[in-house]
Amino acid sequence: MANPEAGMRNLLLLATPYSLLPLLLLLPAFAAEKATPDFAGYWGRNSTDFEPPLSGPGPVTNKGRSFYARFGDDTNPILKPEAAARIREASKATVEGVNFPTPSNQCTPWSPPYMWRALMVQVLQQKDHVTITTVGDQQVRRVRLNAAHPKNMTPTWSGDSVGHYEGDTLVIDTVGVKYGSNSMIDNYGTPYSEGLHVVERIRLVDAETAKKAAERMEALNGRVEVIAGGASIDPEARKGLRIEFTVEDPKYFTTPWSAAVTFRPALGVVEERVCAENMHDYNSGTDVPVPRADKPDF
């Protein structure tokens, strides 16, 4: 039969400083884990453009001021002549009514920072990595936490992304981003090279900040309605997810520049969106030239 006094004695023994020490050692780890901000979930928005900073070098913006008329501002001082020329070339295609090929309309991978044009993303946080899926064509990007870039890396479409938490912010450093014929930084054909370096800082913001950012972008570039693929935003949302990023690529840019995107919690069922079902080249009358390889994938 259990002895209540012995039970209490054992409990008190357990509660002595020495016996508690190993357990108490867990508390800092617990506190650290609790401090990790929770970005998990589905986040949406109704714009596919980047937010310019309030001052300083910023992204190429749309002279067309419409989601459906894309004329990148080739006078942006961040651009080296070759980059400006590429933007003019893309704008010319828009003027002629033939949209230019982008990762989005050619069903090719969305590299960072282009991936932040997504109207909806899912963030999955785990101890050693963070996974970000873009709901459009369900692309997947992985970020290794508390790791270093390898010395010799093979460029990939998502690049080599390593991350760590700085207080309430997830900082992601990406290099080794592969460049292909459709690759671009933004919706305007701004090019990059394999010297691209992107640093993203992801944090939660309050609902009002997120709402103002969304309204600003919709005023600048028009709103992508839900029926056109825009996100259905939770009106009760108390937070937003802000991604501020810095881009460096000496081949195409005169200076490092910064931009941001702000998401809000998305409502509704995540629908399956399959780019392969919709890869017409939009007005030229032919199908897109899909890449080819000579060997099986197995």
Binding site: L24, L26, S158, R273, V274, P296, D297
Partner: protein, 293 residues
């Protein structure tokens, strides 16, 4: 003093319990993480009972992955299905390939995607996200939910899940048959009535060995192996059951047994490799007349 001691103990217990906050609760089996198997095509036919097709074309005693001749004598197949599988087998024998959702870069759909060599599982109380290595396809499972009365068909269908003891059970309907849709690598067709039930369980190596042996008996093992075959830790075993009355004489089951990958996942982009594989034509890419934005 006693109150303080109890408080401390309570605090410590609470802290310990919360350390694994990303993991499912103690009563829910933890399937999270990367899982992999090295086999091609990947399904593990059962030793007895209605089960998946084997490859009649053998190389070194196992399935020849570059000549896919499904066993059209398998009694699960209805006569019309027999003819379709036989036709695909003839195509494969006459050259070396025919279009399937994997080599044409289409969503693999269910159950075809279950043959993928890698699976990453993210468990949340209300939703499970599954990412397959092949083209990094993403699939979502709503937990403790019901199918809507009217399901809009999608490639991965409407998947709902729940836990039964140590098993995760996923029920999927509303699977859209795309232009290259097939049940397996042998061209076995599917209809919109397809119904797939998956049961996932964690097994000790000794219990997983039967599945691993069946995998090795039927499937090819590409070299170098991407999975540590000496791994003796917990394995993840999927048992899936397929029903489609227009195609099959009976419901049938097979397994896929996963171990651990030897390395991190490499980026896998089908769009970089949609070659024809002997079909004499390039990938049959669909078209649409409207932008996706």
């Amino acid at each position: 003093m006693r109150r303080n001691a109890l408080l401390l103990v309570t605090l410590v217990m609470a802290a310990s319990g919360s350390l694994g906050q990303a993991a499912p609760s103690a009563s829910v089996p933890n399937f999270s993480g990367l899982w992999a198997h090295p086999w091609l095509p990947g399904y593990e036919p059962l030793a007895s009972g209605p089960t998946s097709l084997k490859n009649l074309s053998r190389r070194n005693g196992v399935s020849n992955p570059v000549q896919l001749v499904g066993d059209y004598n398998n009694p699960i197949l209805k006569p019309a299905t027999v003819e379709i599988v036989r036709k695909f087998g003839e195509m494969s024998k006459s050259y070396y390939g025919f279009p399937n959702p994997r080599n044409q870069c289409w969503p693999n759909g269910l159950p075809f995607v279950l043959s993928s060599n890698g699976l990453e599982i993210f468990q949340k109380p209300n939703e499970i996200t599954m990412i397959y290595q092949t083209d990094h396809q993403v699939r979502r499972v709503r937990m403790n939910s019901t199918h809507p009365a009217n399901v809009t068909p999608t490639y991965f269908g409407d998947s709902i899940g729940h836990y039964e003891g140590d098993a995760l059970v996923i029920d999927t309907v509303g699977i859209k048959p795309g232009p290259f849709a097939m049940i397996d690598w042998f061209g076995t067709p599917q209809t919109p009535a397809l119904h797939v039930v998956e049961r996932y369980r964690l097994l000790d190596y000794a219990d997983a060995k039967d599945g691993l042996d069946r995998a090795a008996k039927e499937n090819a093992l590409p070299q170098p192996a991407t999975v540590d075959l000496s791994y003796r830790g917990k394995h993840l075993q999927l048992t899936f059951t397929v029903e489609d009355e227009s195609v099959f004489t009976t419901r049938w089951s097979a397994t896929v047994t996963y171990g651990k990958p030897m390395d991190i996942w490499r980026e896998n982009v089908c769009a970089e490799n949609p070659n024809k594989y002997g079909t004499e034509r390039d990938a049959q890419v669909p078209t649409a007349a409207k932008p996706d934005f």
